[in-house]
Structure formats: C-alpha cells, structure tokens
C-alpha cells in the first residue's frame, strides 16, 4: 500500500509537509518500546506508536522508516514534526487505538517484518 492509503484506512490526519505520500510501504512495526523496535531490523517502513517524544522520530530514522503513525489521537509537537520533516518522514495521527490501527492495516495487507 501507499502512505496515502494508510491515511484513509486509519482516518488519519497528516501532520508533516513535503513527505511523498505515494511511496510504497509493505511492512510495519507497532511498539511503545524503542529498543524493541531497534531489535528487529528487517526493512519495516512504518512505525505505529502511542509514544510521543522526539526519540520516536530518531528511532524510526535509525531504522530508515519513512512513516510514523501516532495512535489514540496523540499529536506530536512542532519540534518533533520538524525533526521528521528534516528526514522526509510522513507523520500521521489517528484516533484509533494501537490494537485497532494495527488490525486495520494488517487487514489491508500490511505485514510485520520477518526477523
């Protein structure tokens, strides 16, 4: 799917400017523990998280991820968005819970990376 598909599947809001939404994503990782995300490198491109601080962007950046979805209506602040925009990452925010957001994306074909 494309980042633009995630936007509509999750009724999400796009918070960054300039990140290409037509980029393809195939795998995702959902977690609130950053070292768990870092433990399984396998070309995931989307991070789904309920955590809201700059280390989320830094962690995604280390993994070369291109899209972060903040669940439960968490709105990252301007500093976090700036970090993401510098890196060409798309930041989305949805009211769905982690469980529901992951379920919806899985049902539409997004998968966890193999490790």
């Amino acid at each position: 799917m494309k980042i633009s598909d995630i936007l509509s599947i999750l009724d999400a809001q796009l918070l960054t400017e300039g990140a290409g939404l037509e980029r393809e994503v195939h795998t995702a990782c959902g977690s609130d523990m950053m070292s768990d995300v870092l433990a399984f490198v396998k070309d995931q491109s989307v991070l789904i998280t309920g955590l809201n601080n700059p280390q989320v962007v830094r962690t995604a950046d280390m993994m070369d991820m291109i899209c972060i979805v903040f669940v439960r209506g968490k709105k990252p602040d301007a500093g976090i968005l700036a970090l993401a925009e510098e890196r060409g990452m798309a930041i989305l925010c949805t009211d769905h819970t982690m469980f529901t957001a992951c379920g919806l994306l899985y049902a539409h074909g997004l998968r966890g990376g193999v490790h």
Binding site: M33, S35, V41, P54, Q55, R58, T59
Partner: protein, 142 residues
C-alpha cells in the same frame, strides 16, 4: 594509508530530547562518505542505543568515532555509576530503568544486547562508582 577520520561528540546528561543527535550526525556523515548502507544502519543503531544509555543511565558522556574504509569504530565513555554485574546487564530484558524512563519508551533491557548484536566487535568495561567504557566496531565488508 590515509589517517582515520575522527569524530567527537559530547552527550548531555540532562536533556533527553537531544540524545540521538550524535548518532544521527554519524549516520548522515557515513552516508555522504559513501559507506555501505547495511554497515551504516548497524553502526547507527548501535551508537544510538549507547547514546541513549549515556543520557539515561550515566548522566551523559563522550563518544569518539574513528573511520577508515574498512572499519567504523565507536568508543563510549562515561563517569556515571558503573554497572555492578555486566553479564546480567548484557542479558535481554534486564533493565534498571525507572518508570519515568519507561514512559519515554526505553527500559526494555534490549539496548546492550542490540549493541552487541549489530556490531562485529564489542567490549564493555565498567567500575562501580567510576564509569563505563564501551568499544564497538562495525566492519564494512562484514
């Protein structure tokens, strides 16, 4: 043979939002120097984990990087509380991180194991009350 390129970073102990700046800087330099992407990613993740540890467990510290075409060498030194039982600290899931650190998304006890896993050479020495010293290297061919 050319001299290694040296990079020095200071990791502040009182500003968690800035932890990760050194790793991000290293990553972009390695990219512009043309290092292989897989080696860049392994080195950047290992350094990021170490940098976070400096910020949350050690009250800050120093990072020294030495680059040659074959090797990405990273040294992390702090004068924090030290680690009483290194074997225990190296095991997956062991963490002394307090709740406030967990609420920031750290404290899974995966950082040190990740650092060892992603590097080709890893050593750690620590003295309680004096500090912790980590040496890691990623080989670009490996």
């Amino acid at each position: 043979m050319a001299e290694p390129i040296r990079l020095d970073y200071v990791v502040p102990g009182d500003d968690f939002t800035r932890a990760g700046e050194a790793s991000a800087d290293l990553k972009s330099r390695l990219k512009s120097l043309g290092f292989p992407p897989a080696a860049i990613r392994r080195a950047a993740i290992a350094l990021y984990e170490g940098e976070i540890n400096l910020a949350i467990h050690a009250g800050g510290g120093r990072i020294t990087v030495a680059l040659t075409p074959e090797r990405i060498e990273m040294a992390l030194d702090d004068e924090g509380p030290g680690i009483p039982d290194i074997a225990l600290a190296m095991s997956e899931g062991y963490s002394t991180a307090p709740d406030e650190v967990r609420s920031l998304g750290f404290g899974a006890g995966m950082g040190l194991p990740n650092m060892k896993k992603y590097t080709d050479e890893f050593s750690i020495a620590s003295t309680v009350g004096e500090g912790t010293h980590i040496r890691m290297a990623v080989l670009t061919a490996g």
